[in-house]
């Protein structure tokens, strides 16, 4: 009779939102892996219907407390696309600055508080703080620098309120930007030290042959703009997203899965961005990646923590670059007049590509909204990772296997609240 093992994690820790993992092993074969997302659906797309398009940045910011800027940015770009408006110059630069703040906040939270404990063999960041307080203080200081950007330009640290279609409600003063720059000078050193720290972790020997998808811009590391590209030849405009990607429902998840119509599962996030855009990094981040041996051909998802750290360097350095060359806009926003149209846009949330689609009426009311978050797009890839990861490790005891599986899920920094539109771990060995 074949031995059946089941590894179950009913509520996964150190992820945002509520989900579970259920793995079934029959003898020496992994027969089922389900990333179960049971956080209730949140119906944001339905809430948006009938609302005025100008309300969208404030409503979509409420989808996530960790990456509200991403939701605001994809929303305003999609709506400006619908209205035929392109925001450039200082307002464009300031949007990029705001996004830098969110990447710093979100990546540093994940690196220090959520993922590093896995690599250090401890349960949580409190245990790291008990033995290495200076490291944790560095993480808190660095996260605070990201918070400072979002608080200044977004109006507050969580669920910012200063973003509008066409730009911002208010532009901070030169003195406030100068104070921010001083904070970021310190943050740059902390970011560099973070890369050196995480690059020294031990990484499981594991790679996968992903189709990696990310934005690519002619001369910038991507935040707000670029074509959607992959390492397997995909190269499309953001407005052609739905012709190439489709959402589908799976029974075990309240979050829709998303797949490439032509080839199925794919991977978005830091590993994909770095692989496809390493040549667009600024000199400091590129040199830092090289110094720790981070290869653009890296396909080890556990090393995503190193990529995140490199992206923090890039975000801090880019924020400083923007502040150095900042010209003040003539007005805090550009006028945007509604018209009956459909607008589509994607930006790079910390966890990966975030695509929004809106159809609005001539009087500016939203008739249809579709939001496709990065965690939804990565769900199938997470399940594929776990199947491939567990198979050669069946000799491990259940506790060790469970620990490593949870770590593998956290490689993606899954944001369950965002994707429900998501974690507990169950492994069954039969």
């Amino acid at each position: 009779m074949t031995e059946r093992r089941r590894i179950k994690v009913d509520y996964m820790a150190r992820v945002e939102g509520e989900g579970a993992l259920d793995v079934v092993i029959d003898g020496n074969r992994v027969t089922d892996v389900k990333l179960k997302i049971f956080e209730p659906p949140r119906f944001f797309e339905a809430f948006l219907q009938g609302r005025h398009f100008t309300e969208t940045p404030d409503i979509t910011a409420r989808i996530c407390g960790i990456c509200p800027v991403a939701y605001q940015m994809s929303a305003v770009h999609a709506l400006e696309n619908a209205c035929g408006v392109v925001i450039d110059g200082p307002l464009r630069a300031l949007r990029r600055l705001l996004y830098c703040g969110e990447w710093i906040e979100s990546h540093v939270l994940h690196i220090y508080m959520l993922h590093a404990p896995d690599f250090l063999g401890v349960h949580n960041v409190v245990e790291i703080a008990q033995t290495q307080p200076a490291i944790v203080e560095r993480g808190l200081r660095l996260k605070k620098a990201g918070n400072a950007i979002v608080a200044l330009l977004g109006g507050r640290e969580i669920h910012p309120i200063n973003v509008r279609v066409g730009g911002f409600y208010k532009i901070p003063s030169r003195a406030e930007f100068d104070k921010l720059a001083a904070t970021l000078e310190v943050a740059r050193e902390d970011a560099l030290a973070t890369v050196a720290w995480v690059a020294g972790f031990d990484f499981p020997d594991f790679t996968r042959d992903y189709e990696l998808v990310a934005l690519r811009h002619p001369d910038e590391y991507p935040f707000n703009e670029g074509r959607i590209v992959s390492n397997r030849g995909l190269d499309i405009a953001q407005t052609d997203y739905h012709a190439h990607f489709e959402e589908c429902h799976v029974e075990h998840s309240t979050a829709l899965h998303c797949r490439l119509r032509a080839r199925g599962n794919y991977h978005v996030g830091p590993l994909a961005r770095f692989a496809l855009n390493h040549d667009r990094l600024g000199a400091l981040a590129r040199a830092t990646a090289n110094a720790v041996g981070l290869d653009p051909d890296c396909r080890n998802p556990f090393k995503s923590i190193v990529v995140r750290a490199v992206e923090v360097v890039e975000a801090v350095d880019e924020a400083l670059r923007i502040l150095r060359t900042l010209e003040f806009p003539d007005a805090p926003s550009m006028p945007v007049e509604p018209r009956a149209a459909t607008g589509l846009a994607a930006t790079e949330a910390p966890r990966g590509l975030l695509h929004h689609t809106y159809r609005i009426s001539a009087d500016g009311l939203i008739e249809h909204a579709q939001i496709i978050p990065p965690t939804s797009q990565n769900q199938a890839s997470i399940e594929d990772d776990l199947g491939a990861f567990i198979a050669p490790r069946l000799g491990l005891d259940d506790d060790t296997l469970q620990w490593q599986c949870e770590q593998a899920v956290r490689n993606y920094d899954p944001c369950i609240s965002c994707s429900t539109h998501f974690l507990k771990l169950n492994v069954t060995r039969r």
Binding site: A13, R14, G65, M113, V125, V126, I158
Partner: protein, 156 residues
């Protein structure tokens, strides 16, 4: 420098999660002398920046169901490790109040005095009002905070 700070934690639009802000509102009607009243929600890590080493800090937060709704607890977080006692503090975020306090303790960043008041919530549904039991706990906690402030001497 030292101060007395009362911080109400929670989302005012999520049923009994509104306990903390509701206690602050109740106190604000007749503010206790020398106490700074404020609210907090979302990122509990940010609490570590809300006090100085010499401050006396009172936190108020809702607790997820464990005992009867409305049951009030008072914890001296400065004197004992409260991870287990605080494990049920309600948070939809990955870093809850207990973890933030224990991180502060490990880093030596807790204030001179840290008292946590909690009350069992019954309902945390978005858009719902305080349940009757939690509403009653609001008045009880406000009264006990006023009593704490009357019996404590000036900040040292």
């Amino acid at each position: 420098m030292s101060a007395i700070k009362i911080i109400g934690i929670g989302n005012p639009d999520r049923g009994d999660d509104a306990l903390g802000p509701a206690v602050i509102a109740a106190l604000a009607a007749d503010p206790p002398v020398a106490a700074e009243l404020s609210t907090a929600s979302g990122d509990m890590l940010a609490l570590l920046d809300r006090w100085s080493p010499n401050d006396r800090v009172f936190l108020v937060d809702a607790i997820a169901p464990g005992q009867a709704p409305g049951t009030v607890v008072r914890l001296d977080a400065g004197r004992e490790v409260l991870v287990h006692a605080l494990a049920n503090f309600a948070s939809s975020h990955m870093f809850n109040l207990a973890e933030a306090i224990e991180l502060g303790r490990a880093l030596g960043r807790l204030p001179a005095e840290l008292i946590v008041y909690g009350a069992e919530g019954a309902c945390f549904e978005p858009g719902s009002a305080l349940s009757p039991a939690t509403a009653a706990a609001v008045a009880e906690i406000a009264d006990r905070l006023r009593e704490d402030l009357r019996t404590c001497t000036k900040p040292h």
